[in-house]
């Protein structure tokens, strides 16, 4: 099912490419020793090099190179053993040198691919064109003073990877999946934390449209610096619709840079006229070409963790999980590790259900990460053991879980303290069942008369009477036997 925009005289396809700027996880900046931490007081994480003082010179952070290579390998991409840092020259107050050190004609990473796990279980490949390293710019604050813009260079010089996809994306949904998958891979690798709110991952969205079925590539517009997956998806919708309207009105789409206004739900052109986008790229004469040996690349490759795609396949093969469950569990490294520890020596599907269901709901509520939860994988495993041993029912287990989350106590202790042990004694259950049948003659009669559904209600009454502790299967069976259902 393809995504189409309805025009006045027919349907249109969206052709989308994403340029993601991912801040490299590192202690110091790409070419200076200043810190990269988010949220510091203005201009306190700036070296003289970052401030472009006269006579200052760049020195490359080796760790950032390794992170870029790692990322390239994680994107199944070609690593270029020779790459060149070039200067991209333009004037802007948050760019103190008047140029950004980037890589243009010879980036460190070439073509690769990202696999999307589609909702219907299929996979779709989005091509990666390239990945290169570049410096981030500082920050301009326009709202601090009516007549002045304030400049904070803390972010100037922080290492970024620019990851450019091929224009293979065809819908907002695919764009969302792509960003989530990319973020997942980057977090797995530890090369970027993917935190879009803090700006450590930002997307520029290139959108063009074409009549459904055509192969042409029409003029595209670029929606810059979109800082959430949701906004990226909305921006694509808004921009595609805008472009279709332009064509329908007989106009032409201009190649321009736009911003997404999430309140208005539309894109608008940036007011700075970027006329003469002439960046005059040339190799930075303060640096030399970056040459990597095969050995260097091999070492990094050997150190890669199992990535989401491989993990997903392994979860399907080894644990018999559905592709959907496997993908959900593999999306984050911490989640996958958690799941495997729970599943060890236990029923994997049950473990999967509990992790993706009850545990996720709890983690989402706290807003923290799975590793910060007071319920560790061993503790959850013990809870499952209690269910499987028949000590408690699945329903009671959910209550116990809530208690574990609140108190941090182990399941066993909670069950004992609250006397939640399941009643599996046939005699005790029979007593309770008989009481309920006696107290509810109408419903009992209904069941005898063939209304099978009412059994559920009666089971409920028995559970209530036993404080939820009766073994529900046994209650059900006994009721059926007694009422001849």
């Amino acid at each position: 099912m393809s995504y189409l925009v309805k025009g006045e005289r027919g349907d249109w396809e969206a052709v989308v490419g994403l340029e993601v700027h991912a801040q490299i996880v590192s202690n110091a900046k790409l070419f200076s020793g200043a810190a990269t931490q988010f949220g510091a007081a203005p201009n306190t994480q700036v070296s003289l090099v970052d401030a472009a003082m006269p006579g200052m010179l760049p020195v490359l952070n080796g760790h950032c190179v390794a992170q870029a290579v790692r990322t390239g390998l994680g994107l199944k991409a070609k690593i270029n053993t020779r790459s060149v840092f070039e200067r991209k020259n333009y004037f802007y107050p948050d760019l103190p040198h008047g140029y950004q050190i980037s890589q243009y004609s010879q980036p460190i990473v070439g073509e690769g691919a990202v696999l999307l796990d589609m909702a219907d279980g299929s996979t779709r490949t989005i091509g990666i064109e390239r990945l290169h390293m570049e410096q981030d710019a500082g920050k301009s604050l326009h709202d601090q003073d009516p007549n002045r813009t304030f400049i904070d260079l803390n972010r100037a010089g922080v290492a970024l990877m620019e990851i450019v996809s091929r224009p293979d994306i065809r819908s907002p949904e695919e764009a969302g999946l792509y960003l989530r998958k990319l973020r997942s891979i980057l977090r797995y690798l530890g090369t970027c934390d993917g935190n879009m709110e803090e700006g450590s991952m930002r997307a520029d969205v290139n959108v063009s449209v074409r009549p459904k079925g055509s192969n042409e590539l029409r003029t595209r517009a670029e929606v810059k610096n979109v800082n959430s997956v949701r906004f990226v998806m909305q921006a694509i919708e808004a921009e595609a619709a805008r472009q279709v309207a332009v064509y329908d009105a007989g106009g032409q789409v201009t190649q321009e840079t736009r911003l997404y206004d999430s309140d208005a739900g539309e894109t608008r052109p940036m007011r700075i006229k970027e006329f003469a986008h002439d960046y005059r790229y040339f190799p930075d004469p303060d640096l030399l070409p970056l040459v990597l040996t095969d050995e260097y690349i091999r070492k990094i490759e050997a150190d890669l963790p199992e990535l989401p795609d491989a993990k997903k396949q392994r979860f399907i093969a080894d644990y018999g999980l559905s592709p959907y469950d496997a993908q959900v569990l593999a999306a984050e490294r911490e989640t996958a590790n958690y799941f495997e520890r729970v599943a060890k020596g236990r029923d994997a599907k049950q473990a999967a259900n509990w992790v993706t269901g009850v545990l996720f709901a709890h983690v989402n509520e706290t807003g923290k990460s799975i590793d910060a939860s007071p319920i560790g994988p061993e503790a959850l495993g013990q809870l499952l053991d209690l269910i499987n041993a028949g000590t408690i029912s699945g329903r009671i287990a959910k209550e116990v879980f809530a208690d574990m989350a609140a108190t941090g106590k182990p399941a066993k202790d909670i069950v004992a303290a609250r006397g939640l042990t399941q009643i599996s004694d046939a005699g005790a259950i029979e007593v309770a069942v008989d009481k309920v049948i006696a107290a509810n003659p109408k419903q009992a009669a209904d069941v005898r008369a063939g209304k099978a559904k009412t059994i559920g209600w009666l089971v409920g009454q028995v559970m209530k009477a036993t404080g939820g502790k009766a073994n529900p299967q046994m209650v059900n069976e006994l009721l059926k036997r007694k009422l001849g259902g």
Partner: protein, 101 residues
Amino acid sequence: MSLDKATVRKIAYLARIRVPDDALDGLARELNHIIGWVEQLNEVDTTGVEPMASVVDIRLPKRADEVSDGGIAGEVLKNAPEPVVAPGADGGFFAVPKVVE
């Protein structure tokens, strides 16, 4: 390749150097003269020649990923024509005429 007044104006804008209108013709003449002179390089056959990538025969050095700099807001802002003290008094800003995005 000859530079006309319009081209000079465009280049001057790219370089953000204000050139008074009455100086443009003279400047165009000078620049044309220089460009005309350097164009003799076209006489050289450079087929198959790699452009010089580095003057000195060494590898690109790399630094360790350590925080070894920064925390010098005072120094960084010392020469600023219009420094602004941050409200929290820790650090400060450079100020420029307002930019509208």
